[in-house]
Symmetry: C2
Subunit: 255 residues, 2 copies
């Protein structure tokens, strides 16, 4: 669907008042990254997102958008908050009527793109190295990873969306496993701790972390150590996927 | 607004595709209760809820609905999930056109009440004893507390909504305080533990629970013991509200 078709007939395919946005996180060089889009005609960036189709639920819309931007399938997407600010999609200085004229479509006051939009927010953790060539969409010209600590100017309420996604991710560390898709298949306890420390933003006690992690049952000792290291090299772990998925669904038990 | 006005002109006041529902929990006789509405013309019950006004955000809509049903103000309402099932509000056997005729309003295929509705779910914990006279709304005839273990037949996707609210509440126990609004102002450690056990659905170790709770900083020892009890009676605690609210907002720290 090109821009003209979208503006003129989009309401036949999409729900005019409901959108989905995705905060897609990756981890690289001990830094938390997020995938952002640079808009063509607006001075700013946004999360990947879009209107929900009339034929899909929010989970499906989020999966579609993630696939379109990254090519990745079957990624665990977590709904975390729905944003309902009354003027959240109003763009200061943007004249919708003028924009309509520029593409030959009349955008009157009752036009579907002028309706208030609530947005269901999702976040996902993906393997940074698997997203080699992220794709922009119709309205944007660049799709790339940005450091979470050095965000560009964000449009709409997307700064708030990202802040809340990071906050949710941090809370999640208390009751759900994190790491699958963010770490290589085999990793040391130090690498896992570094990931947690980066996500949390503060250092953790090594002994406590190790004890807690081993207690969750989500780790499997591979019996291997990094190659080329001396005998005292640290153990390599991998995730016990069955237990990991179970914990993801039901939460880890209060103890 | 009566039913006829609502059906005819409701779309001028409300967003046709966005609603809010509230799972309102109370605790009484060591049992978790939830506030439900019995519908007038449909054989079933639902959560309190309704369309979101064009002039309000979801938090405001949830607060309004809670106030209308219970009379309570300034209750902490937590958004927990948005439900977007395509046919989630379709009622089997319900003929909308016939319903329209019965109240003298034409409900054609494009009528605003026939549009798909996504629903932002909230939950709240309220003091059972303060909700003396819950009020039904235009479409319902009874509003009352039901035991969470003995739910009546639920309409729409409200069974799923309640299950997810309970699950969220259980997860929340791992990283946010619970108890304010559910317990009396002063309570024993056993009473607090009983609340947690009821919410979680399984017993907890007494020593660990006590240690963990005291470690959070949200409890204040009052120095009192229940009156009329012997010297060995248990201590009474109350919540340190400042620390409680802080923990509610920012989560308890990973340790």
């Amino acid at each position: 669907m090109n821009i003209e078709e979208f503006v003129r007939d989009g309401h036949l395919t999409y729900m005019p008042s409901v959108a989905v946005d995705c905060a897609i996180f990756g981890f690289h060089d001990n830094t938390l990254k997020i995938l952002l889009l640079k808009w063509k005609n607006l001075k700013g960036w946004s999360l990947p997102g879009g209107y929900m189709k009339r034929t899909e639920e929010a989970d499906e819309a989020a999966g579609r958008l993630l696939r379109e931007r990254t090519g990745l399938e079957k990624i665990f997407l977590q709904q975390y908050h729905t944003f309902t600010g009354i003027d959240r999609t109003k763009i200061p200085g943007m004249d919708m009527q003028e924009f309509g004229h520029s593409i030959g479509v009349e955008i009157g006051p009752e036009h579907w793109l002028r309706q208030r939009v609530v947005c269901v927010g999702y976040y996902a953790l993906v393997e940074y190295s698997r997203v080699r060539n992220p794709q922009a969409d119709t309205f944007t010209e660049v799709c790339e990873w940005c450091n979470i600590d050095e965000l560009p100017h964000l449009l709409f309420d997307h700064k708030e969306m990202i802040e809340m996604a990071v906050k949710t991710l941090r809370l999640q560390l208390n009751f759900q496993p994190v790491g699958l898709n963010l770490l290589p298949h085999k990793f040391t306890m130090s690498e896992l701790q570094k990931l947690y420390e980066t996500l949390l933003g503060y250092p953790l006690d090594r002994g406590n972390f190790r004890k807690k992690m081993l207690g969750t049952g989500i780790l499997r000792k591979t019996g291997e150590r990094p190659t080329g290291k001396a005998h005292k090299a640290p153990h390599l772990y991998s995730f016990n996927k069955q237990e990991y998925v179970r914990s993801l669904k039901s939460g880890m038990r209060f103890s």
